[in-house]
């Protein structure tokens, strides 16, 4: 019988047989679900872990030192994968954006996941945050020809300037699309649907991004000053209260945990440079490795360190021991502790710098004080350490330091950004590269040619799979070599 059946079928349709839906894949969703893609993108970005995902920049800026296994601290030249960006975060967000932009796909089902304009706005703002991290880490990178699948298997690299232009435009568009009165996107796991805060976040990000171009502003076609002022003066406002800050949230499930927690804490200690800066050991004093102009005890050490009294591990040696040294606080390493994405303190410090540079008419010292106070306040609230009360005195002392510091107010502001951004190493690393503060000394036992890493090396697969375009990307570096000491476009300061 089977024979007859098969024979009959065989001869009636030689090319193909209809098997119905037997090959339908029931192990996932066959259609895009924008709310899930948005949440998936935010969660993936927030939980990137491992050395390249979270730890390396905390080493490069000397927040932490390694013991026992020290290669990353010593700037070992290792290609860094960006697959998480291009295979998970960016395609997720781009899919959300493409669906929301397509009038035909604006169905009731889509609207049930939040107002499509709000979905679009939030996805554009978050994607801009991701793109800034991407280009700050590597330099030029595919964007306009990227994420097109079969339509372009070898995307060309956009210059960092083009990427900044795009991300600034996206932030502005996203901010302006958002309707605070309409339904928030399901899947907003950053702000839980607070659309006003998304607009403030967009403005804070615009200020951060435009200020990142301070040293190339003159040559760039981007009007950084204009972008900064537009954001600062936008009616939606900027993040200026702790309650408006963007913090990534974590959960107990291993895949959703704070990315620090998933690493081997035993290998990481606070760098003594950072500890001395917090303890206020004067720069140059015996035993002090403080790379900043600060000489005042900084109470944030209670939030940042396991023990405010202990020293850290001197940075950059392959044979240091951690016995009896301070580590980053249990808050930082605990599984469910939130981590900062954009804070009020950092926003004020950006305003302070812009004011000092003459980009705005605000008073730099006032902004600096406000920035420091908000930084103390947010860590006070996060960790429950009673530290905010000490903020004012510390801030006043720092304003005074600006008078004596060699680099003046800009130096103090940059140093305070370094302190305020802990433990978020990526932004601190970008700030340090641009400003040169604090004055960090390269690792003594460096494995590269003895300079602090200034970027991630391009992923090794690009050499074999997209080499011609990669060479275009490399040519955007200075010098034009794929090394961790080469500089990206905006990194031109002495």
């Amino acid at each position: 019988m089977a024979l007859g059946l098969v024979l009959a079928q065989g001869f009636s349709a030689c090319e193909t047989v209809d098997f119905g839906d037997i090959n339908e894949n029931r192990n996932g969703a066959s259609e895009a679900y924008p709310a899930g893609l948005l949440a998936g993108a935010i969660q993936t970005f927030a939980t990137q872990t491992g050395r390249q995902g979270v730890l390396n920049p905390t080493l490069y800026v000397q927040y932490q030192s390694q013991v026992t296994y020290t290669d990353e601290m010593l700037y070992a030249e290792t290609p860094a994968s960006w697959a998480t960006y291009y295979n998970r975060i960016l395609p997720n967000l781009t899919t959300v954006i493409n669906i929301a932009r397509d009038e035909e796909q604006r169905t009731p089902e889509l609207a049930a996941q939040g107002d499509p304009d709000n979905q679009l706005g939030v996805a554009l703002i978050f994607r801009a945050m991701v793109l800034k991290r991407l280009t700050d880490n590597w330099g030029d990178a595919p964007l306009s020809q990227a994420l097109l699948g079969i339509e372009n298997l070898t995307p060309a690299y956009d210059s960092q300037e083009q990427i900044y232009m795009q991300l600034i435009a996206d932030l502005q568009e996203g901010r302006d699309l958002i309707k605070t009165g309409a339904d928030a996107p399901v899947g907003d796991i950053l702000y839980g649907g607070d659309m006003a805060n998304w607009q403030k976040l967009a403005n804070s990000l615009l200020m951060q991004a435009s200020l990142q171009l301070s040293e190339v502003d003159a040559e760039s076609s981007i009007d950084a000053v204009g972008v900064f002022n537009d954001a600062l003066n936008h009616e939606a406002g900027v993040i200026d209260e702790v309650s408006e800050e963007a913090w990534f949230k974590y959960e107990a499930l291993t895949a959703y945990q704070n990315p620090f927690n998933r690493n081997r804490a035993a290998d990481y200690f606070l760098a003594d440079e950072f500890v001395d800066a917090l303890q206020g050991d004067p720069m140059g004093a015996e035993g002090s490795l403080n790379p900043t102009s600060n000489t005042t005890f900084d109470a944030r050490i209670y939030a940042y360190a396991t023990d405010a009294e202990l020293e850290g591990v001197p940075y950059g040696y392959n044979d240091e021991t951690g016995a009896g040294r301070a580590k980053a606080s249990t808050y930082v390493w605990s599984a469910e502790a939130s981590l900062p994405a954009m804070t009020a303190g950092y926003t004020y410090l950006n305003r302070a710098e812009a004011a000092q540079r003459g980009w705005t008419n605000e008073v730099a010292a006032d902004m600096l004080v406000k920035g420091i106070e908000l930084s103390f306040q947010t860590w006070d609230e996060r960790t429950g350490e009673d530290i905010a009360s000490g903020a004012e005195a510390y801030a006043v002392a720092r304003v005074a330091d600006a008078l004596t510091a060699e680099g003046g107010m800009l130096q103090v502001i940059a140093e305070e950004k370094w302190k305020a951004l802990f433990p978020q190493g990526f932004d601190a690393w970008a700030e340090w590269r641009r400003t040169g503060y604090p004055e960090l000394t390269p690792a003594a036992d460096a494995l590269n040619d003895g300079a602090i890493a200034r970027r991630y090396d391009y992923p090794v697969e690009e050499t074999t799979l997209n080499n011609a375009n990669l060479q275009g990307g490399i040519s955007g570096l200075a010098p034009a070599a794929d090394k961790n000491t080469s500089r990206v476009w905006w990194d031109v300061a002495e």
């Binding site: 996932g28 026992t68 927690n261």
Partner: protein
């Protein structure tokens, strides 16, 4: 039709004509020479005529012999053909002796078609039970080693219970797959690991497309056709019992001069009780250690052996610090030990594995039925402590001739197996993953075993690898905990892991013969496996773990259930006839296959730092701190096939075959999912034309052309949006775009093969040889091509790439000595040479990833390089100048070169020699196999260097000093090379720096070796006591026969390549790229007894 009628008429006329001639009647009986049992079904033919008959159930025959003929020929499958002159006798009794070598034997070819071996148009090599089961092997793959030309065993050390690696036939050809062939047991696709070797009658290996074309899309890696034993003759009972002992025998060479630590002599310090630690006094019981030598700070937890030199003086060993508990006191508390080497600590760690296998089988048959029922119990204790395998096999075979025309066959096999204990076999496992990678040469195994339940005052499990007294004030008492490693005995004893597998395979076949020419058969077959894996990580271990430090474990459990089934419905119509000089056999058939897979699992993560069980050791999911989401995986696949084949023979000398199969697969695109696979072949037995040249008793040439394909897996072309493990915040679903792009026009890859060869036998079949040449190409490879991740995807699945293989296979067998009842020596030699080359890759790529992956530290990857041999090892190597000198930095360390190719993992040639000696009832069988070429990588060696465990790291340099001595004192490793600017360099590098540079710079080259070997794999000495029971002193009516034997397995790795200094057994590498800190190899010894009732 008219023609057939005419031919029939001719035939009838001829028969009548013969019947009318003068005849005389001869009667007689045919028996088996060995057992004296009557042989039914023997063909008795008057030589030179077509007159013939067959023997009845009692072996008797009666034949009318035409006048003028004086010779009878007795021919029966599996027995030597005998010719007997009649003379004046009226009765001729004949005893036939078995002959497994003879060419009249029938072999089972594709789709279960039985053919006379002499007519087959491609190379075929069958292995019989006695050669397969030399050492009572528990698996079919090792059993084939060296016995079939072109079959390479990628074995797995027997220490991994129930897992047997894979075999490669003719090397490999697919660029994307290096999988095991298809195994068919009595017509049913089956899991080879579930086959009871005790029931295997024979195995036929179908090597290339010429032999496998009728399997269409499933045959790309070849097919192994297994035939099980069937009942015959009077009902008999057979009992077989064997016991095998496995001893760890193949370990790398360790250094025995330096113990644990990081800092050489400075690792030791003197314990100062009074000083306390960081201002806190030590516990009072440590007063006894005041002034004693102990390991300082991190040297105490060092899991490396760069510590002090052994001097035989006193020191405080790891276990002396703990008094133990009241119930479990530590007899060694407070006592120092001699600081000395423990050369055999690793060998002594492992148990002697014991495998007990007992089988009872019942069988019998006559012209109405045949039946066989067998039960085997396998009980295997692993070499890794606390591991075992228990397995039960039930095998049944029934055949029933319901009417003269209808025959029904039913086979059912059931296997149940339970594997317990830790089977981890890669980097980081608790035994070999520690001993060869992270260990101290000073650890005394006897103490580990004796003190496995020793607890510290804090209630933690005491380990050789603990933080140490100097960390007394740190980690809140956690200084007592293991730093990286538990005591391995404690770990293995307490970590409960269990894998249960139930496999049922059955088929039911009905065949109806309309007449002598037409037979219709239909069968239904199913094989299904239910698999359950459970693990329970106990509180007693997790409580001693240090999640915040290095050793993260949590009290956790989980279970995975997999149900898989394959169902086949098939039918075929066969036709066989003779027309004058022509033999015709043909069939058409169809098959409907449905595969299903259903996984369900829920696993807590034992490595998680948080979320363990709330009530310790209460293994219920609602007790989990973080409840794991249950996960499912479901897939179905259906393949419909029709096929047909025809063979025409001319005068028993020329055969032409043709076959065609069409497959439609549900896994292929709906626009086109049907493809066909043709094959043609011819053979010519030229000795039929030659008369009078007696030395050459048989000669055949053969040639053929055929195609097979490869399907894609179910769901492969339908990627989906994956979802996060569970909703975020309890309600926000996380989703992720797929990263695989699929070419909508994907089609199966196609292998096209040409094969030619000859078979010859000389001196009345005493010596024979077979030679085969093949040339096979594979096109349209379905490759998940790596693409730049910036496209949004990581792979593009499309047809791209081509490969080819060419090779020769030679098999020679012969009776070196042969006498009727004296000494016999038979030898079988196999040799096969293969080269697979990578001819085409996706556009723009000069290399792609090959199946086989990378070691756990990515030192090497298996890569296909365009234009080169299949599967190259690639990794970082030494940079050299144009003259081959290694380039050396100013510090004496090597300059490296990335992406260096070290050669193919495939051997140049493989083969085996099987010797069978017999003298009266005594027989000796020895199987040797060998391989030349191929490369492998050893991860253990890399770590063995890094951690100062292996012999080289404490060797003597050319100045006569230890390489660990300071260079200033004449120590260090002598390095000769050139500087980056080309000047000669001749210097010494500190031993530790030298041996750790390979890890620091990920240099794979020193750990890549040639995989050549010669190995005495199996040896068996047995004695057949049957004559004692039949006629001798033990004569009785119950026991009819008995055999006893002693066996040895893996006894002698006769030769390996010189650069394989640590003598890794290249035939037992668990990974394609080599060795990933796997379990050690063993030597096995066994005894067995077989009784027939």
């Amino acid at each position: 039709m008219k023609k057939i009628l005419f031919l029939s008429l001719l035939l009838v006329t001829a028969l009548i004509h013969q019947a009318m001639a003068q005849v005389r009647t001869i009667t007689g009986k045919v028996t088996d020479a060995a057992t004296s049992q009557p042989l039914p079904g023997v063909a008795v033919i008057v030589k030179g005529t077509t007159v013939g008959t067959t023997t009845g159930v009692d072996g008797a025959y009666s034949i009318n012999v035409p006048q003028g003929n004086n010779t009878l020929v007795y021919r029966f499958i599996g027995y030597t053909t005998v010719e007997r002159a009649i003379g004046n006798a009226n009765t001729v009794d004949v005893a036939l002796s078995t002959d497994t070598e003879q060419l009249q034997e029938v072999v089972v070819t594709a789709l279960g078609v039985e053919r006379e071996k002499r007519t087959v148009t491609y190379a075929t090599q069958e292995v019989q039970a006695q050669d397969l089961n030399i050492t009572q092997n528990v698996n079919i793959k090792d059993a084939l080693a060296g016995k079939v030309a072109g079959v390479q065993i990628n074995g797995q050390a027997g220490s991994k219970l129930g897992e047997f690696g894979k075999i490669r036939i003719r090397g490999a050809i697919s660029l994307t797959s290096d999988k095991d062939p298809l195994y068919i047991v009595d017509g049913v696709p089956s899991d080879p690991n579930q086959v009871d070797m005790e029931n295997v009658e024979s195995v036929n290996v179908l090597k290339g497309p010429n032999a496998t074309s009728l399997y269409g899309q499933r045959a790309e890696a070849g097919v192994v056709v297994i035939t099980t034993k069937k009942g015959s003759g009077n009902i008999s009972v057979e009992v077989a019992s064997s016991t095998t002992w496995d001893k760890v025998a193949y370990l790398p060479k360790y250094q025995n001069q330096y113990g644990g630590g990081y800092d050489g002599e400075a690792s030791f310090g003197t314990f100062n009780y009074g000083a306390g630690a960081e201002g806190e006094p030590y516990p009072s019981e440590w007063q006894v250690f005041d002034g004693k030598r102990y390991l300082l700070w991190d040297n105490n937890y060092a899991d490396e052996s760069w510590g002090p030199k052994f001097d035989g003086q006193e020191y405080v060993p790891w276990y002396a610090w703990w008094p133990g508990s009241e119930e479990n006191p530590n007899p060694y508390f407070g006592q120092t030990a001699k600081y000395e080497a423990q050369p055999d600590n690793i060998k002594n760690f492992y148990d002697t594995g014991v495998t007990k296998k007992n089988t009872i089988s019942f069988g019998g048959g006559n012209d109405k039925y045949n039946a066989r029922l067998s039960y085997t119990n396998l009980d295997q204790q692993g070499i890794t402590p606390y591991t075992d395998l228990k397995r039960h096999y039930i095998t049944t075979n029934f055949g029933f001739n319901a009417t003269e025309k209808l025959r029904v066959d039913a086979n059912i096999r059931y296997t149940n197996s339970i594997v317990r204990g830790d089977q981890e076999d890669g980097y980081g496992n608790q035994t070999s993953g520690s001993f060869n990678s992270w260990f101290n040469r000073s650890v005394d195994t006897d103490k580990l075993r004796e003190l496995k339940d020793l607890q510290t005052p804090g209630g933690y499990s005491a380990s050789w690898n603990w933080w140490g007294p100097d960390y007394y004030t740190y980690y809140g008492g956690g200084f007592q905990k293991p730093a990286f490693w538990f005591n391995p005995y404690t770990f293995l004893d307490r970590y409960d892991q269990k894998k249960t597998r139930n496999n049922v395979t059955g088929n039911l076949t009905a065949a109806y013969s309309f007449n002598d020419n037409w037979t219709l058969s239909a069968s239904a077959a199913r094989t299904s496996t239910e698999y359950l894996s459970e693990f329970y990580f106990p509180f007693s271990l997790s409580n001693s773990a240090a999640p915040e430090l290095y050793n993260a474990w949590s009290n956790a459990f989980g279970r995975t259930e997999i149900a898989e089934a394959e169902n086949n419905l098939s039918s075929s119509l066969r036709y066989e006839n003779e027309f004058g000089d022509f033999d015709v056999s043909a069939f058409v058939g169809g098959n409907l296959r449905k595969d299903t897979r259903d996984d369900f699992y829920a696993n807590m993560s034992p490595g998680a730092k948080t979320g363990g069980l709330i009530i310790p050791d209460t293994y219920i999911f609602s007790n989990a701190g973080i409840t794991p989401s249950p996960q499912t995986y479901l897939e179905d696949k259906e393949v419909r096939s029709i096929y047909g084949s025809a063979s025409i023979g001319f005068r028993d000398m020329l055969y032409v075959d043709a076959s065609l199969r069409q497959d439609w697969s549900s896994a292929l695109p709906t626009t086109k999912n049907g493809y066909n696979y043709p094959g043609i072949g011819a053979s010519f037995i030229f000795t039929e034309l030659i008369d009078g040249f007696d030395a050459l008793s048989f000669g055949k040439v053969r040639a053929g052309w055929a195609q097979v394909g490869s399907d894609v897996d179910a769901l492969r072309i339908n990627p989906v949006y994956s979802l996060g493990a569970q909703p975020w915040g309890g309600s926000n679903l996380l989703a992720y775009v797929p990263t695989l792009l699929v070419d909508p026009k994907i089609r199966p890859a196609t292998n096209t093969s040409f094969e030619a060869g000859f078979d010859v036998r000389f001196l009345s079949n005493r010596i024979g040889g077979s030679f085969t040449y093949y040339d096979e190409t594979r096109e349209d490879e379905i490759i998940p091509v790596s693409i730049s991740t910036t496209t949004g995807y990581s792979y593009y699945l499309t047809n791209a790439g081509a490969s080819s293989r060419k090779g020769v296979e030679v098999a020679i067998d012969g009776d070196v000595f042969k006498s009727d009842n004296g000494f016999n020596w038979n030898i079988l030699v196999n040799y096969a040479r293969n080269r697979t080359s990578v001819d085409e890759l996706p556009e723009g790529l000069d290399a792609i990833s090959a199946p086989g992956g990378s070691d756990d530290w990515q030192f090497v990857s298996v890569i296909h390089e365009l234009g080169n041999n299949w599967g190259q090892l690639r990794g970082i190597g030494f940079a050299t100048d144009d003259n081959g000198n290694r380039i050396v930095n100013s510090n004496g360390l090597y300059v490296t070169e990335s992406n260096k190719y070290f050669g193919s993992v495939l051997p140049d040639f493989t083969g085996g020699v099987l010797n069978r000696f017999s003298y009266k009832g005594l027989s000796l069988t020895a199987a040797i196999d060998f391989q030349k070429g191929g490369k492998f990588f050893s991860l253990s060696e890399q770590w063995g260097y890094y951690s100062g465990l292996f012999e080289e790291t404490a060797s003597t340099n050319d100045k006569g000093n230890n390489v660990r001595d300071a260079v200033a004192d004449g120590g260090g490793v002598h390095v000769v090379g050139v500087s980056p600017t080309g000047e000669a360099v001749d210097t010494y590098v500190e031993g530790q720096s030298y041996y750790q540079q390979f890890n620091a710079n990920s240099i794979a080259e020193p750990f890549i070796h040639d995989a050549s070997f010669i190995k005495l794999r199996d040896i068996n000495l047995s004695y057949d006591l049957s004559s004692l029971f039949k006629d001798g002193g033990l004569k009785n009516n119950v026991i009819k026969g008995a055999t006893i034997g002693v066996v040895g397995r893996n006894l002698w790795l006769m030769s390996v390549s010189d650069d394989n200094y640590h003598r890794w057994d290249p035939s037992e590498l668990s990974q394609t790229y080599g060795e990933n800190a796997q379990l050690p190899g063993t030597k096995s010894y066994g005894v067995n007894v077989r009784l027939t009732f």
